[in-house]
Symmetry: C2
Subunit: 312 residues, 2 copies
């Protein structure tokens, strides 16, 4: 059954890709069987991460970029890391569902993944979902994140090119720096650039970028203005992505970047497995027994954890 | 030496508190010795979490609230979870340093903690820093986070009362919901409420709050307007915090909330320890040996990790 699924994914069948990602998302034991089978067919897709504060228009940028890539004949996969809706338990898909449904385009695959629940798990699962899209032959994979916290930054950084989307009203440049966005962007987008404050944000950004706060010191980090809702500036953005792709390839940096991400991925796999193995029924019942004493401050959590490790 | 430090912390000596938090931050082996000693003196402080998008004025709210609490005779501790500055390697303290330095007030302790590096570690360390402040006798501890990602949300949620700060320009209410903020707020603040759009944001927020998306279904989640830079609305905010405190106490919810946080803390301690134990020199060298083969897709990371667990 997994062999069959893997073959269908390699043939880029949409339903199979969706099922594969669901296995990953639900932490099915079959997920790792599938991922092992697909792994040798991965590494060919180019990963683009899109992050920035809520309301900056990341989904609109993602949609416009996807359309442009399709227009140029490229196959595209999109993983949108969305928080779970409190109403439905599903992801807040918004216009994404509409985009997905309206298109019968076989060469685009769009999927939202929820953040609720496991924190570390999300980053791991998002990467595994990218592997499935990669194996399916998508040439470009866009990973879009909703928040601007550490976990989202981590996900955005697993991309080959990371795009930070800002808007004039997202506050001054210092706030952007505070949120940790300055350091991770390979390309900065000032979206909704027809609004007031876009000039000032552009100047502040460029000033900060000149201070060499970015990953690559031998490269000028570009800033591009867009009005994504009207498709303005998207051509230029794609051009900048492709130039960054060439830059990484020429400098041999793509390989080192991917190796670093692989190390992180291995670490996440290990942590997940360790946690799962550690909490035996016996240890869980010890916790149940002692939690009242720890709450009552008769036992410290530190001593309790010491005990879990020495008992064996 | 740790005995001495613990006693000084219990006497609320600033230098000792600072040293204790540094031990925690640097993951010194002495940190757990200290925390074990202090634990029975914790649980008395009331924890207030402040979160929201970058630029919403969280630091200003924290500062105003601290001043007001002091004016009312309460002792206060502040942990600001800040990203590390790319320039100095230290935390971006901003006006916080000034506030700290200008005051010789012995009853306030303010500390920034950096997010760079360990993701899970930050949440654990922030809580441990709160334990030190708690043991030192601070009646109120404010935990302020900079980002709005999952890890920051987790930290903000370890508080007894979680305040979500928004500004009219932080985008529409749907964006707030998307960022996961709606569900975690016990109190919502519309800061910079003298700006355009504050009415609309207030209406949207209240509408969404009526849909019962919050943690407590038997309580109306309040929305308060502030202009923190001018101290406007801070009295009302404190009043709402104290009312929420009473509510939790009356309903017996404070205890259950804290027990839940304790379980999370134990989990974090376990994960940290497991990871540390797992990566022996031998396993690290196995990784070094095989990483090129994994990068080259001759071995999958999944099979490699399987191997690390079966070898023993």
């Amino acid at each position: 059954m997994i062999n069959d699924l893997a073959e269908k994914i390699l043939r880029s069948e949409k339903a199979a890709i969706a099922r594969g990602i669901s296995l990953v998302e639900n932490e099915s034991p079959q997920a790792s069987v599938l991922l092992k089978k697909l792994y040798k067919n991965t590494g060919r897709a180019y990963l683009v991460g899109i992050t920035g504060p809520p309301g900056a228009g990341k989904s609109t940028i993602t949609n416009s970029l996807t359309k442009l890539l399709r227009a140029k004949g490229h196959t595209v996969g999109v993983i949108a890391v969305d928080p779970t809706s409190p109403f439905t338990g599903g992801a807040l898909l918004g216009d994404r569902i509409r985009m997905q449904d309206s298109g019968t385009d076989e060469e685009v695959f769009i999927r939202s993944m929820a953040t609720r629940g496991s924190l570390g798990g999300l980053s791991r699962k998002a990467k595994e979902a990218c592997e499935i899209l990669d194996a399916s032959g998508k040439e470009f994979i866009i990973i879009e994140t909703v928040g601007v916290g550490q976990s989202e930054l981590d996900i955005a950084q697993t991309a080959d090119t990371t795009i930070v989307v800002l808007v004039p009203e997202s506050g001054d440049a210092v706030q952007t720096m505070k949120a940790g966005l300055m350091e991770i962007g390979d390309i900065f987008v000032i979206n909704k650039s027809d609004r007031e404050g876009s000039e000032a944000l552009g100047i502040a950004l460029r000033t900060m970028l000149h201070l060499k706060m970015t990953r690559e010191s031998d490269r000028e980090t570009p800033v591009v203005k867009t009005v994504a809702s009207r498709g303005k500036g998207i051509d230029e953005l794609l051009d900048l992505i492709l130039r960054h792709k060439d830059y990484l390839a020429q400098k041999g940096k793509l390989e080192s970047k991917r190796r670093e991400n692989l190390l992180k991925q291995i670490n996440e796999l290990v942590n997940h497995r360790l946690e799962h193995k550690f909490w035996t029924a016996e240890k869980k019942s010890q916790l149940d027994e002692k939690i009242a004493l720890i709450s009552g401050r008769e036992i410290t959590p530190y001593d309790f954890v010491d005990g879990l490790f020495t008992d064996k």
